[in-house]
């Protein structure tokens, strides 16, 4: 099978993740979208590893999985902390910090 299909699929997944991150308002769903983006990169890493016939990309993908897990743990922890503080879990309504308006 042609390598281009894998790269194309990974690009599509990356764009889905990026557009979801911009469009969605729940931090939880935004974390999911981040996962999509990282996994798109994983897919392309593994496809490239297959193309070049070396294992570098595979090792890279394994490292990325660990890192992605850490990021989600921190993200979920933050969301729990916000929930305990009775903050709205909605990115549009969390806007205490902003530039002064005229």
């Amino acid at each position: 099978m042609n390598i281009a299909w894998y790269i194309g699929l990974s690009a599509v997944i990356f764009c889905i993740g990026a557009s979801g991150l911009i469009a969605r308002r729940s931090p939880l769903v935004m974390l999911l979208c981040l996962e999509l983006m990282l996994n798109a990169a994983n897919l392309s890493l593994i496809a490239f590893a297959r193309m070049h016939g070396n294992a570098d990309g595979q090792i890279f993908a394994l490292v990325v999985m660990v890192v992605a897990a850490c990021e989600v743990v921190v993200g979920l922890g933050l969301i729990v902390a916000m929930y305990r503080n009775r903050m709205p879990i909605d990115i549009d309504r969390i806007s205490e910090l902003r530039d002064p308006r005229d």
């Binding site: 990356f14 931090p27 983006m37 193309m51 890192v67 916000m82």
Partner: protein, 516 residues
């Protein structure tokens, strides 16, 4: 499948050189020991023992880094990390920034809220990640170091667990920082795809082949990598998170981020840009020059109308990164030399104001421009450092900021980017508008100030803005000492820049060896 299995058979674990890894092991061990020390003791340990453990860790790592300067370069862990003067000098900068942050956080509420062990452990982990990042000579170690310093910082930003703005800053930083990491990772995967290698030397060899000159995969990879790094260094137009996060994060964390994360990205740009992608520099040089120009203007104009000093410093930091990028664009010996000097000067100029803000915040005055009013009359030990640091950041003569900017402009002109030097000069002129506003707030008598700024109707007296400044200057001697030291350094290195120039020269020689 068979090819893959054969490839897997060829992978051998690298030999581990523990002696050369010493500073990294000290930091990793120190992060763990710190958290255990805070667990075994009671209140006393929380208050005294934990900070001491953390500071001992940082100082000993710093000493090892300092001793390494001038030693021959070595490559360890099967070429994953390079220990040379570039990494040693940047590691020194990170450790100094972390030490300043430790002083700032020492007796703050943040430490009680987050727990001393957790806070210092995360801070040390951040330094560890940065140390790995600047030493990395492999895309995998690069990404690992990048995330190892990013993820603890997300937590540190949210360290004031019960303050909503701190959590908001943490969440914003997490979401946007991770977006930056994902973009960076996708770029790295494309660079790997185009070249077939993850170590910098092989990438450089592959990139210098004519076949890859205009490879779209490589170009897209370089662009995405630059964008990902730009998110972290708050280079415009990827800077929008910066003011929000600095304002919401605990002040010691903001002070640390304002210097250390930027230094880390500059170090990466030096190494990845010049070593791995050096042969492709005509492609990314112009991209970085454009980013630098946009950054200088967006930062300086954004800072003009801020009421929160932390927001103002965030925008000013955006602009300062723009100036430093000029050194990268020049890509010459002189460019690295200027960067080396400017970063040390920037550390001093930036820590001072954050120390003053931290003092004002602890007395309940907040981080607003209002907290600065009448500071000159009531607390000269805070007012003078703040004034000096503001003038140094603006780049007025006889300060380190002036020498640094001069060197950067010289480097830009020398590297055939004279227009970038003009942009730096224009940016500095705009920046006077907000730096001098702070100086005016500190020294002008209220009557004159109200007349000049016309805000007499909504301004409170300084009594409204928290406790009397002279009292909290006496109550926080360590913050005042830090502010005075930073201001003294900003002036001293303006008068007598030789020691810093010497360090910058070492960095420039080491950086010059990276440029093929």
């Amino acid at each position: 499948m068979t090819t893959l299995l054969a490839a897997a058979g060829q992978v051998h674990g690298p030999s581990v050189e523990y002696g050369s890894l010493l500073p990294i092991l000290i930091l990793a061990g120190g992060a763990i020991v710190t958290i255990f020390v805070s667990l075994i003791g009671g209140r006393a340990a929380q208050r005294l023992l934990t900070p001491i453990t953390a500071i001992v860790t940082l100082v000993s790592a710093g000493v090892v880094f300092a001793v390494r300067i001038g030693e021959p370069d070595i490559s360890i862990l099967g070429g994953a990390l390079a220990l040379d003067d570039v990494s040693a000098i940047f590691d020194l900068l990170f450790v100094s920034a972390a030490l300043c942050a430790s002083v700032l956080v020492w007796r703050s509420d943040t430490l009680r809220e987050a727990g001393a062990g957790e806070f210092f452990s995360l801070l040390i982990t951040t330094v560890l990640g940065m140390a790995i990042l600047v030493s990395a000579t492999n895309l995998v170690t690069f990404f690992l170091g990048f995330e190892l310093f990013s993820i603890p910082l997300y937590v540190l930003c949210a360290a004031d667990l019960r303050r909503n703005t701190s959590l908001e800053a943490g969440l914003k930083y997490l979401l946007i920082g991770s977006l930056g990491s994902a973009v960076l990772l996708y770029g790295l995967s494309m660079i790997y795809g185009a070249t077939g290698h993850t170590d910098y030397a092989s990438i450089a060899r592959a990139v210098s082949l004519p076949a890859l000159r205009d490879d779209p995969l490589l170009l897209a990879g370089v662009a995405l990598t630059l964008a990902g790094l730009a998110f972290k260094a708050s280079v415009a137009p990827f800077h929008q998170w910066t003011p929000d996060v600095y304002q919401g994060a605990p002040t010691p964390v903001a002070a640390f981020m304002a210097v250390a994360t930027k230094f880390a990205v500059i170090a990466v740009l030096l190494r990845v840009g010049m070593q791995a992608l050096g042969p492709a520099r005509e492609h990314w040089e112009v991209m970085v020059a454009m980013l630098a120009t946009v950054t200088i203007f967006v930062g300086n104009i954004g800072a003009l109308r801020q009421e929160s000093l932390k927001r103002m410093l965030a925008y000013s930091g955006v602009a300062q990164v723009g100036y430093v990028l000029a050194g990268i664009v020049a890509g010459t010996w002189l460019g690295v030399y200027a960067i080396g000097f400017y970063l040390f000067a920037y550390l001093a100029m930036n820590i001072g104001p954050f120390a003053v803000i931290a003092t004002r915040e602890r007395s309940g005055a907040g981080d607003g421009m209002r907290g600065m009013r009448n500071l000159g009359r009531e607390a000269p030990w805070l007012a003078w450092p703040m004034t000096i640091c503001m003038l140094a950041l603006a780049g007025l003569p006889v300060t380190a900021g002036f020498v640094g900017k001069l060197l950067l402009m010289q480097a830009a002109i020398d590297g055939h980017y004279a227009w970038l030097a003009v942009m730096i000069a224009l940016g500095s002129a705009i920046s006077l508008g907000y730096y001098l506003r702070v100086v005016a707030a500190i020294w002008m008598p209220s009557a004159v100030r109200d007349e000049v700024f016309g805000d007499g109707t909504r301004s409170g007296t300084s009594a409204l803005a928290g406790a009397a400044p002279e009292a909290d200057a006496a109550r926080h001697p360590e913050l005042v000492a830090l502010a005075v030291t930073a201001a003294a350094a900003s002036v001293l290195f303006g008068f007598y820049p030789r020691p810093l120039l010497e360090l910058a020269r070492i960095l420039a020689y080491a950086g010059g060896q990276l440029i093929f």
